[in-house]
């Protein structure tokens, strides 16, 4: 375990790093982030009359919203097909598994333990802490609900029989919940000092080893060997990145064809 071999500190200049996210996982995350940003942006403008009146181009906004939706779903399907499925499966397994520490982290330390300030920091966490797990589970469920209600909205424009009383409340409700979660997620990744170092992991794949040991002590993190500039990193990312780029290309082309036909 990383924590057992922790004291060995070889090079002072280069901080030790561990590998947290592979290219496929990062692609999955950023596709989700981009899709959410574009669809929330266009959706809110179409949804708030004050903004609709000001921006005043519903056909374009709607086309962007629908294109983004199709691209997003297509990419979420294509990336696992062409990317590192083993890594994704491992991440999913870790995210959906809650051990006793996770339950304590989420529900409280229990009657016989002291709560006190910073009690959560004393509960050892794995590669994902309990809140990260809960967040991704809720986001995954919201993604499904966005798609279900969005498809119903699309159908409802064609046949009012598909206009169920709960479609709009569901699409809106999912949006409100997701907005709150994403706001917290962005705050933790950009602002909050203890969690900010995680951002590097989603950008480059690597996080600081000391930070990982302090915040995720139960995580048996694979070291990211300090590489000679360019060489190791390129070798590690190329096999994963190429399929992802290919996937995005294929998805974009497919969707452009679909959109041009549909719209």
């Amino acid at each position: 375990m990383a924590s057992e071999s922790a004291p060995a500190r070889q090079i002072l200049a280069a901080p030790r790093r561990v590998l947290r996210f592979g290219p496929t996982e990062r692609a999955f995350h950023w596709i989700h982030a981009a899709g959410f940003t574009v669809m929330t942006g266009t959706g809110v403008v179409m949804y708030l009359p004050a903004l609709s009146a000001r921006i005043s181009d519903r056909p374009t906004l709607k086309a962007i919203h629908l294109t983004a939706a199709v691209l997003w779903v297509a990419a979420l399907v294509v990336v696992p097909l062409l990317g590192d499925r083993r890594a994704l499966r491992a991440a999913v397994r870790q995210l959906e598994t809650f051990d006793a520490d996770d339950r304590r982290w989420l529900l409280g330390p229990g009657r016989h333990r002291r709560r006190g300030p910073g009690w959560r920091a004393r509960i050892p966490q794995g590669r994902f802490n309990a809140a990260e797990k809960a967040h991704s589970i809720v986001q995954a469920a919201l993604a499904v609900l966005f798609v279900v209600s969005g498809v119903l909205l699309w159908l409802g424009e064609r046949d009012t029989a598909f206009r169920l009383p709960g479609t709009i409340p569901l699409h809106d409700g999912a949006m409100f919940v997701a907005l709150v979660l994403v706001a917290g997620h962005v705050y933790l990744s950009l602002v909050h000092p203890p969690t900010k170092p995680a951002m590097r992991g989603m950008l480059t794949g690597e996080v600081d080893a000391d930070w990982a040991e302090a915040h995720h002590p139960k995580w048996d993190a694979p070291p990211a060997d300090a590489p000679p500039p360019g060489y190791d990193a390129a070798r590690r990312s190329r096999p994963g990145a190429a399929p992802v780029v290919a996937a995005l290309g294929v998805a974009t082309t497919a969707v452009l064809v679909v959109v041009l036909v549909v719209l």
């Binding site: 949804y47 009146a53 959906e96 169920l164 709009i168 409340p169 569901l170």
Partner: protein, 234 residues
């Protein structure tokens, strides 16, 4: 429940996350059926919100009230007049009593908003355009009707043919009572075959013109012929 062991974190614990995921999806999908009712009783709480926020939360019976120039116009029965002019033989104004003296029509129709929400079975009472126009005489050159709202600059228009649809009317009653302020008191356009933005509220002036022109939302990219199920990208 095993005691914490020094194993990789994915080797212990239970996949409760999958159950949580399926549970949230299940509750969410089921809300397609109960979501409308739930938002209805939530809306009582929303009436405490500022009006700018109220427009984005559902109203009492599934309505969402949009305003392009708040606050809503107020209806004063003593001074309210409906002007009907343009390409007509006898331009005139109507008081509410005079409007209600015209043949009354009743209907129950569904209301569809272009943003995706609908309110089923809304009861309306008012005047068919055939009867209203008969009272002023349509000149042969007329081909369309423009509706101006007291909420400026909201306008919209229908062709004469569209206005003569059997379920189009200038309504002054909604759900068996006078139209409320937020729904366009005292008179509004009702065109059930088209999206709600065609239904000009707080109608203050009706002008017959040669051709239909773009209304408030149509100037902002929406379709002029706003048929439900056949416009705005469909």
């Amino acid at each position: 429940m095993s005691a914490p062991l020094p194993t990789p974190d994915d080797a212990e614990g239970r996949p409760v996350g999958r159950r949580a995921f399926l549970g949230i999806v299940g509750v969410g999908v089921s809300s397609l059926l109960w979501g409308g009712v739930a938002t209805r009783w939530l809306s009582d709480a929303s009436s405490a919100l500022p009006s700018s926020l109220q427009s984005v939360v559902p109203g009492g019976t599934g309505w969402r009230i949009y305003s392009v120039n708040p606050p809503f116009p107020t209806y004063d029965p003593t001074t309210w007049r409906l002007t009907v002019d343009g390409l007509v033989e006898r331009p005139r104004t109507f008081t509410m009593a005079q409007l209600q003296a015209l043949p009354r029509a009743d209907q129950t129709t569904d209301f569809h908003c272009v943003t995706g929400w609908s309110v089923p079975d809304v009861h309306w009472a008012g005047v068919r355009f055939a009867d209203l126009l008969a009272a002023v005489g349509v000149s042969p050159a007329a081909g369309a009707i423009e509706f101006a709202s007291a909420e400026e600059p909201y306008v919209d228009s229908l062709t004469l043919e569209q206005a003569r649809a059997p379920d189009a009317m200038l309504a002054y009653e909604m759900d068996h009572g006078p139209i409320s302020r937020e729904h366009g008191a005292p008179a509004r356009l009702v065109v059930p075959q088209m999206y709600g933005y065609k239904g000009v509220k707080w109608v203050s002036r009706i002008t017959l013109t040669a051709q239909a022109s773009d209304g408030y939302w149509e100037q902002r990219g929406y379709d002029r012929d706003a048929y439900v199920g056949g416009s705005n990208g469909v």
